[in-house]
């Protein structure tokens, strides 16, 4: 997935906020937060903005787009 996120880092920075607490603030299930955090699911813009709002930061501090060049290693091969 080309969209990377810093949700885990932001949760840590916000007093070890749990996925459940974040899920309740955003209005999704804990499993959905988990899937987003692990890069298994790319959220809609609406949910992405709500996650950013839950942390009180701009969207680009939570999600970044990293286009993959043809020469880049395949997904999941980075440490």
């Amino acid at each position: 997935m080309n969209v990377q996120n810093r949700i885990r880092r932001l949760r840590f920075d916000h007093g070890e906020m749990t996925q459940q607490a974040l899920a309740e603030r955003v209005g999704v299930t804990r499993q959905t937060i988990n899937a987003i955090e692990l890069g298994k699911y790319c959220p809609s813009l609406d949910v992405a903005f709500r996650i950013a709002a839950a942390f009180g930061v701009p969207l680009e501090q939570v999600f970044t787009y990293e286009p993959q060049s043809p020469a880049s290693p395949p997904e999941g091969s980075r440490g």
């Binding site: 885990r8 299930t29 988990n34």
Partner: protein, 148 residues
């Protein structure tokens, strides 16, 4: 950094999909086993209709009881409406199941050309519906396991 959240327990929706999958598999497994026995001449064909409606009631009761038990374990999660990822999973699984049902319906029609009577045709259509439902719930389980 704490990583205690990275192994999510099975969600209510996934448990619900498992309940439906296993209930349908078990109940209709019994029914189609009986149908095969009738075809082989080892079971009473007149009992088929009664067995069908009995098993249908059993299916409803089993599903309701198991869903109530699972919902009692996590009532808050059970009351929460589906979020966008869960709706997407539903749609993806339903899309696959639709094609299975479509192929099943076409194959059922094809049985007429091989001498199938009305009852056999009805069983073929019912089998296609059951398989499509199993694919739908099975697909949901797979997508929940994969994350989306």
């Amino acid at each position: 950094m704490a990583d205690i959240d990275n192994a999510p327990p099975i969600s209510f929706r996934e448990k619900s999909a498992w309940i439906s999958f296993l209930s349908i598999f078990g109940i209709f497994g019994i029914y189609f086993w009986h149908v095969l026995e009738v075809e082989a001449g080892r079971a009473d064909p007149h009992a088929t209709g009664r067995l069908f409606f009995t098993l249908l009631i059993v299916l409803v009761v089993v599903e309701v009881v198991l869903h109530v038990l699972v919902a009692a374990q996590s009532p808050k999660e059970a009351r929460t409406p589906k979020d966008e990822r869960e709706r997407l999973i539903d749609l993806k699984a339903t899309r696959i199941a639709f094609f299975v049902l479509l192929i099943g319906a076409l194959l059922s029609i094809a049985t007429i050309h091989h001498g199938a009577d009305r009852v056999e045709l009805a069983h073929c259509v019912l089998f296609a519906v059951v398989v499509a439902e199993l694919v739908r719930f099975g697909g949901q389980i797979v997508f929940y396991r994969r994350g989306a």
